[in-house]
């Protein structure tokens, strides 16, 4: 069905290698020959077989991206950025979903399906520090996320602790004293939840505010629904608070909804801050003050780092740690303090 170099060569009356040379712009070809070959290519609608090329060259021109679930906005936006960066570099992206499940993540790292790609960008959610050895794989791997540190592969991540501290200090700076948290994970130290909670506690300490377990909301999956449920639980408990730090945007948005249902006004009664700066954070009502964790930079850097590894073939080079810069995006749900007096 599909034509091959062979067919083109026969039609043009040249050898198969000459056709290959024409395609690759090899310089020493007579114009007449080149033209005949090009015409044959056009006539047959020849398209090179990338599988054969891959086999020959050992490169596929594809990378894999594994995320928990594209239904989660953060990962959808991350995937969009990764695909865009990859396209600019001329490679395509094979996307896998792990569901954030540890076993599926471990399976994936060993899957022969990865042989179809030159490397993997892996956003872990289910695995933990105890699985660090599973990251010692025989292909280029760039890790994303906050579940494992100090592994044998490159790791692109964000300043979770510092950013969470900055977000909390931002709330304190705007006059809030009792800041509830939505989305904590019981007993977690490493991982987005653990690290961000730790930043939260640092901020309280710096400002000599007490840490109050009763305004910490625990929930496992960071969905909107859980943000709302978790918020309702806090409200039912009858505890007092004048601000909420959602450990990510979807939790914060869900929490905001529950607050409004209960009659609280945001930000007048309760200020809300999220984390991720999702696209939708700027369109919620009120718009969501949040931490921009540098996701586009993370995506670009992950792709570049991976391609670099692939290019240089030094799978054994020293593992690099790359950290994205963050910033606080001030919006309506938690306005900045009114600066009185001096300019």
């Amino acid at each position: 069905m599909a034509s091959t170099l062979h067919d083109v060569a026969k039609l043009a009356g040249v050898s198969i290698k000459t056709v290959s040379n024409v395609i690759h712009d090899y310089p020493h070809i007579r114009p007449a020959t080149r033209e005949r070959v090009e015409q044959a290519i056009a006539e047959l609608g020849y398209i090179p077989n990338l599988t054969a090329r891959s086999l020959r060259s050992g490169r596929t021109g594809a990378i894999a991206l594994a995320v928990p679930d594209l239904g989660l906005s953060y990962f959808a936006e991350l995937a969009a950025s990764v695909i865009e960066a990859a396209e600019e570099a001329g490679v395509v992206v094979l996307v896998e979903q792990t569901g954030g499940d540890r076993d599926r993540e471990l399976d994936l790292l060993r899957s022969p399906r990865l042989k179809m790609t030159d490397g993997l960008i892996f956003s872990a959610l289910g695995m933990g520090q105890e699985d660090v050895e599973a990251l010692d794989v025989p292909y280029p791997l760039v890790l994303l996320g906050e579940r494992i540190f100090g592994g044998p592969c490159d790791h692109v991540t964000m300043r979770n602790v510092e950013a969470a501290r900055a977000a909390t200090e931002y709330l304190i700076g705007s006059g809030r004293q009792r800041i509830a948290v939505i989305g904590a994970h019981e007993g977690e130290v490493i991982g987005s939840a653990g690290l961000r909670l730790s930043g939260y506690r640092q901020a309280l300490e710096v400002h000599s505010l007490p840490f109050d377990e009763s305004i910490i909301g625990y929930t496992t999956l960071w969905h909107r629904a859980n943000g709302a449920t978790c918020m309702r639980e806090l409200l039912d408990r009858g505890v007092e608070f004048d601000a909420v730090f959602g450990l990510n945007d979807t939790l914060a948005l869900g929490a905001m909804r529950a607050l409004q249902e209960s009659g609280r006004r945001v930000p007048d009664d309760v200020a809300v801050v999220g984390y991720d700066d999702l696209d939708e954070a700027q369109y919620s009502i009120p718009s969501l003050t949040t931490v921009d964790p540098g996701q586009p930079w993370i995506a670009r850097t992950a792709v570049q780092t991976l391609l670099d590894r692939i290019e240089r073939g030094d799978a054994a080079g020293p593992a690099r740690q790359l950290l994205a810069e963050f910033s606080i995006i001030e919006r309506e749900s938690a306005p900045p303090p009114i600066r009185s007096g001096t300019l």
Copy 2:
């Protein structure tokens, strides 16, 4: 670096084909031989080279999915469903973004990069009916979307006209008379916007309501921001309306925000209905009444149809048209009419 059948064969002291046979559970192998081979495989950590297997078999075990942008929630959720369905069938998915740009879409259909896959699920946004011939490609193709009909390939789509009519009738049934539209495309007949607007007009006609151009809001890209902007334009125009039909959920959510900013209450002053039933539609405030267009079914069906084509190899078989069933999801932004009396 990576070991091959050759290495395993040498280590086990058998021929390369025997190793291949062991891997494929060929029955006539002596247990002793099988064991030696399996041990050699384990010792070398042999992983079959899928590229070579693909070249040999003519199948890659991968399909491509082309969508405009994973940053658009609808396509993110669609991609999630497609990847899930593909995984169940044992194939992986290569995701491409076209930006909804016609030229990039046309390029993609001819791209040799597709040679790395067995077929394509293609969600067109920029191309139109005039490009129908471009769909006549030499590989299995399943079209999604509402831009092109009657093409030479299988097409999985939704009942746009009927669903939009039902949504509009739902608003009329709950007592609304002047229903604004957000997201129309100037002069479009085919395409999501054109078809849904047409369903809207049908509903008006059936109920003898006038079509009023002054409450039709036009905007090109269906982003949240555009929904809000478009709504503000209608409000500035000073026209009256008691309901809004957002041609998709993000537009409706953006419009809802603009309405609330302007002091209108949803649904008391203005009822709002969207289209898509995105995950976030159930967590907005108020939650969004919307059309569930059957997206999971579409994704599953697209994958099955494509794999079917690939399996049977009948690229030339008759093109199939597959239509998803829809339903109206009643939520707070447009509650159902209070049924008085009986029961």
